[in-house]
Structures are given as structure tokens and as C-alpha cells.
Symmetry: D2
Subunit: 114 residues, 4 copies
């Protein structure tokens, strides 16, 4: 048997894996970042039980990366975004977050509320 809290946690995990691996590698520049943020949010919000997705592309980190080389764009990776996802599974809310932690993008389950 699986509890609603476990189901909600499972669902929010699916959304994170989806968002990251669907969009990592996308060509991105400071100018194109806003449209990609919106598209990622709206795409993932289509998935079942998903009530809210917020993607924040870290423009300063992106600009710092590009300042070091000849290219005007790079590929999206976890270093360049912070993401919050909220799922509501039949009344149980799960919240997860991705941000950099000591040089690695860390996906963290923040809370599950029955």
C-alpha cells in the first residue's frame, strides 16, 4: 500500500526529472531565457497533479559564463536555473526545489503536507 504523501512525493519527483531532462541542453542566452522559463513552466504544469512550476534562469550566472568565451549562447544546465514545483495529489501537497549546492544542482523535497 502506498500513502497519499508518498504518491505526492513520487509525482513531484517525476515533474523534476521531466523538467531537467527535457530541457537540459537547450541553447540559451540572456535574451532567450525569459521565453524558455515560461515554456518550461507551462509545459510541466500540463502534467497530472501539478499546480505550480516556477523556473528562474540565473541570468547573472549565464552572463558570467558567456563573458569567458567567444560564444553568445550556451546550453541550459542546472547551474543556470532554480526551480520550484508544487503538486497537489488528492489534497496532499508536495513541494520540491532545485538549486545549486556546493557546485551541484540538488533536487530537494521541501515538504509534504497532508
Amino acid at each position: 500500500m502506498v500513502s497519499s504523501a508518498e504518491e505526492a512525493a513520487f509525482e513531484v519527483g517525476i515533474k523534476f526529472g521531466t523538467l531537467y531532462h527535457q530541457f537540459a541542453g537547450t541553447p540559451i542566452s540572456p535574451a532567450s531565457a525569459p521565453s524558455l522559463e515560461t515554456a518550461m513552466e507551462e509545459a510541466i504544469e500540463n502534467q497530472p497533479y501539478c499546480t505550480d512550476v516556477t523556473v528562474d534562469v540565473l541570468t547573472a550566472a549565464l552572463e558570467a559564463e558567456l563573458a569567458g568565451g567567444p560564444a553568445a549562447y550556451t546550453e541550459l544546465t542546472g547551474r543556470f536555473m532554480e526551480v520550484d514545483v508544487v503538486v497537489d495529489y488528492e489534497g496532499t501537497r508536495a513541494v520540491a526545489r532545485m538549486e545549486m549546492d556546493d557546485g551541484y544542482p540538488l533536487m530537494e523535497l521541501v515538504e509534504v503536507e497532508t
Copy 2:
């Protein structure tokens, strides 16, 4: 030796492969289609030599697909979009297009102009 016309054709090919395989599989609904169109266009326009990308999500095809089942979204595939890409490689222009042809998404090199 490789001619400018061949280089331009190569570059527009890269853009098509990138666009299709970066974004195929993205959760999409009629409501989220416009933001994904814009994000695909701006992402690919970041790539070298790429001057113009136009993505048209086929909303009617998307709605027909969803009308047949319980889900409110599906995954983006070639059946649901038409794409035009223009590349300018050092003065040589290459134009390519993707559209459905007898049930298959066909990527076609439309013209190369020196």
C-alpha cells in the same frame, strides 16, 4: 574541400535535428503551445548562422488528438508542428522546412542560394 552551399545546408540540418530532438516529448496542450513555439524559435535562433526560425504548432491536430481520450495534454511530436528554418552561412542562404508528408514528419531542404 567543402563549398559554402554545402556548409549552409549542413548548418540548417543541424538546426532541424536540434529543434526536433531537444523538444520532442515536451508535455503540450493547446493552452501551452504558444509559449513553447516562442521558446523553440528563440532557442534555435541562438545557434550559429541561424537567422530565422518559425514554429507553428498545429492546434487543430492537437485538439483532435486530445478529443479522443481522457488526457488534457500530450507529448510534442512532428505530427503537431510545422517548422521553417533559415540559415545564412557567410552570405549563402539555406532554407529548410518540416511538415507532415503521408503521415510522417519530413524535413526538407527547400533551397540554397549563393
Copy 3:
């Protein structure tokens, strides 16, 4: 506070979202299916807490799809695979499964064992 059971469920969800959205869209034929199965399994088993991944490409479904048209390959989607993933989060085991359910690929949390 988040329990170990919820963490395990979150982690197994991440693995499913990753597997599906990293590899959906890959060109696949009956001949290339075995190498993709192995690569998907070994790729996802790299992720934290993931102890076992089994991917079964449904060769009969793939052959039926290809029999209906001129192409010798298609794109991988949920219709063509069944997947089992096991996660061990600090002693708590979570098991999830993806299979077709009434025409849709359903990702299901099968059990969480403390």
C-alpha cells in the same frame, strides 16, 4: 519534515521522469532496441539511490507499428516500453513501474518499504 518513505518516493519519481524525457524521441528499430535498453538501464542506475532499472522494449508493438508504414524505424515513446525502477534511500526501498494502461503510459508507485 520529510520522512524517508517520502524521500524514497521522490527519488524514484525523479528517475522515471529522467528516463522518459531523456530517451523519448530516440530513433529505434527492433535491431537497435537491445542496445538502447542497456544504455537506459545503466544511465539511470548512475543516479543517486538507484539500485536497479529494468527496461523492456516491446518489440512486438514496435514491429506492429512499423508494419503499417514505409519506415524502418520510429521514435521511442511510452507505448514501446515497460520500465521498473528500484530505489534504496537510506534503507527505505521504493519501487515504481511504467506500463500502458488504456492507451496511456502510466507511471505507478508500486510500493514503499521501510
Copy 4:
């Protein structure tokens, strides 16, 4: 009108864009690299006109990356692979290659032979 040489160059470009953006972001370790190399080769060889794909994961570069941190895997990017693709379009052969050039993955059209 489009020449066979331009068509061949277009087709080999599609293969490179596909390979890179389908598989970039895949979790990879030195142990899982061989199965991913094989799967990438066989997947892309399914595509029209594609006669040969060779993917060489740069294990030394991968090990150097992992030696600098706590993780046992990373994400596949252009820094970790060299790729050769050969296309035969109705008797016209096009060859392209991806390798690192001054810190950037460069996709290069090597030759087109009528």
C-alpha cells in the same frame, strides 16, 4: 533546385543535431559509457541515408571531471565525446565530425564526395 551534395550535407547535419540534443544530459560514468556509445551509434544509424556513426566517449576527460568532486557520474556533453557520422545520399557521401576546439564542441562538415 537543390543538389545531391547539398542534400547529403543537410542530412549529415540533421544526424549531428539529433545525436547531440537527444543524448546530451544523459547521466554517464566511465562504467556506463560503453553502452551509451553503442546505443547512440545504433540509434542514429536508423535514420535515413545514415551509413555509419562512431561515438567515442572520452573516458579520460570524464574521469578528470569526476576526480574533482564527490559525484560518481556527470551529464553527457560535447566535452566528453568525439563523433563521426557518414551519410550516403543517393551515391553522394558526406562526412562530418564533432570534436573539441578551443573549449567548444565544434561540428564540422569534413567532406562531400559526389
